[in-house]
Point group: C2
Chain length 390, copies 2
């Protein structure tokens, strides 16, 4: 392609479609060469397309709420139009004759520990808070550190606000945890954390802050049996699980926070630290709070699965935390519990709120719409950040 262009004496630096190159090279062209696999119209309808001439059944699914079968045209292109959708980012994947596949033509993806999803944006007012806008942008870094607790190199993602590089100011820090199946990049891909904070800072709605996004998925400790629903575990297994559970608390408080406070220009003290997490990360957040209630002045527990709805055992095990309500209330300026009313983990959040209420630990519980999805978690971040460090 480039060599052809140079025959005309000029290198034409525009995007070259690799599918076009392939078509020129070796095989006849197909409808796939020019296919637009995802198309968002001005009225917020979305059309999905995939070329699969030999398939018998093709469907598209995701968190946009209108999953279903696609229809084939006489060229072998399957399509489905949904919407109009509320402006937001959504994830999707195709299923071709039983094979789950992401959209190989769409570069916007969400990586995870167990696989991938494709993403699309329906632009519009409701998504303004999370879109890439023409405002000053902070930086998102992949930072490696050596964890003594885990005995291995570990990675975290770190957002620094506009003006951090080359400046001398110190900033407060939000520690933001992902859920099971994700890793430390999740809050920067599908989570849009940097863009959400950029937009809030640009609008004067949030104070400039650093956001640290650790990897919360820990390696499985050796020889620890998986839990089964059939038999309650032995006391030895319970103790081993407790130790495994404490590893993330150690990782955060003995490795990550000290590394951040040593290498970045941060303000120290609990009033300059916030901790929030979703799902598994919400459980980790709660565990950090109950074992170390003097470290974070702002705490968000989002869509967390807790106690299976039965809080009794949890209350017994956390008596020393619960009995110190006055001390907790003196440090923690904001403790929020958020979950969607269609989230299968709703009961745990309610149960936690019930215990905290009864034991006099100040908190705010918000049960909104939606399910166990990143749609909710991006909004939760957008709502929480303006309330931090004021």
């Amino acid at each position: 392609m480039i060599s052809n262009l140079f025959r005309f004496g000029a290198l034409f630096l525009v995007l070259t479609s690799s599918t076009t190159v392939r078509a020129q090279g070796r095989r006849p062209s197909t409808p796939n060469d020019t296919l637009r696999s995802i198309e968002v119209s001005d009225d917020h309808r979305v059309t999905f397309r995939i070329y699969a001439p030999k398939a018998g059944e093709v469907s598209v699914s995701g968190d946009f709420g209108q999953s279903g079968k696609m229809e084939k045209d006489d060229q072998g292109v399957w399509s489905r139009t949904v919407g109009p959708l509320t402006p937001d980012f959504y994830s999707y994947s195709f299923n071709v004759d039983g094979v789950r596949t992401i959209d190989a033509k769409n570069p916007m993806i969400k990586p995870g520990l167990n696989g991938l999803d494709s993403l699309f944006l329906v632009p519009g007012e409701e998504a303004e808070f999370e879109m890439t806008k023409d405002v000053p942008h902070g930086e998102v870094r992949a930072v490696w550190y050596r964890s003594g607790t885990l005995g291995m190199p570990r990675r975290m993602h770190v957002y620094t606000p506009p003006g951090y590089e080359g400046g001398s100011e110190r900033y407060p820090v939000l520690y933001l945890l992902h859920g099971s199946g994700d890793e430390d990049s999740g809050w920067s891909t599908i989570g849009r954390a940097g863009f959400i904070i950029d937009n809030l800072i640009a609008a004067g709605k949030a104070v400039p802050m650093i956001v640290v996004m650790p990897n919360g998925s820990l390696p499985r400790p050796g020889n620890l049996p998986r839990p089964t629903p059939d038999a309650p575990p032995s006391p030895e297994v319970m103790a081993a699980r407790e130790a495994a559970q404490n590893r993330f608390t150690d990782e955060l408080l003995k490795e990550i926070v000290p590394t951040v406070e040593k290498t970045l220009r941060v303000k120290s003290g609990p009033e300059n630290r916030a901790l929030a997490g979703l799902s598994m990360g919400g459980g980790q957040t709660l565990r950090v709070l109950t074992t170390n209630p003097d470290r974070f002045a702002y705490v968000g527990i989002w869509s967390a699965g807790l106690f299976g709805g039965n809080a009794e055992e949890w209350e017994k095990r956390n008596e020393s935390f619960l009995a110190a309500a006055d001390k907790v209330n003196a440090t923690v300026k904001r403790l929020e519990i958020r979950v969607g009313d269609k989230d299968s983990l709703l009961a745990g959040s309610k149960a936690l709120a019930g215990v905290l209420e009864r034991r006099g630990i100040k908190h705010e519980v918000q049960i909104g719409g939606g399910g166990h999805t990143w749609i909710n978690w991006r909004h939760y971040l957008g709502d929480l950040a303006p309330k931090l460090f004021r």
Copy 2:
């Protein structure tokens, strides 16, 4: 999952397989639930697997050199074993009945402008230079800046070496350009740039440096007709193309270098600047060199498609650069041209070397093995970095 675990009084923080969760919830299990889609054995053989019970033909292809058909077992799982392969990172995708799909179960991917590829690593001695090792790691940042040249927010990736954050030292800068179809993340995903430099610094083989990886894929200027092979373009179109071509040179020299030198702790002067690029980025590198030969002391032109093998027109157009050979030789300490002997763009590199030789511009040309692939470009970076800033 989490709520079940809490019934036993402990939250068990290990990786949860999302496929397992799905299997428990709604549908009977399939071989796909526990499928290992990519498996690398100790003897460097690699097995690819995909569950596609209804498909009639499935193949796997990529840059590992043994693409081909897969075989179906009685469970509907298709597989193919290749190798042994030389230790390295490789890319692959599946083709299921004519539908190209990446491996939806493998989180290691290479994003690009036109789609995705899956990646795998065959670990071993030959790949040591590019593997994630237990050494001090630098940071890789996604940095946004506002481009006056292009009138939009633009992103670049920036590697800073271990010790940059929190230190006060200034560092030299390598500007590293990607090829057509990629964007600024390419050198940090499939390109492994940060890990390659980390390993060289840890071994004392390269001086600590900053690596700036811009986005070289420019938006298409309005109304500029696409070139066609049938008719040579008019002088007006030639001029418009020349202007389009100059946009990246402007973007680099008027936007990126000044932004980097203003916000990061860098050493200035040509002796502290290197520029290298592959394919389209090699063409951009050559254009920057010929129009601004006093800015970079180290220049790498890798796998670039140049002149379609015919250098006459190019030589005419670059007479002022070529006539100033002494001046160029005084600034440029190293000018290297590298390409693989199976690269379809081989002729252009040879032609460029021929012109430079004849006109007395010092350079080194290395024609090695391999084709137009990231396998070569990672090695080219690993070879060049130790020679920089000495």
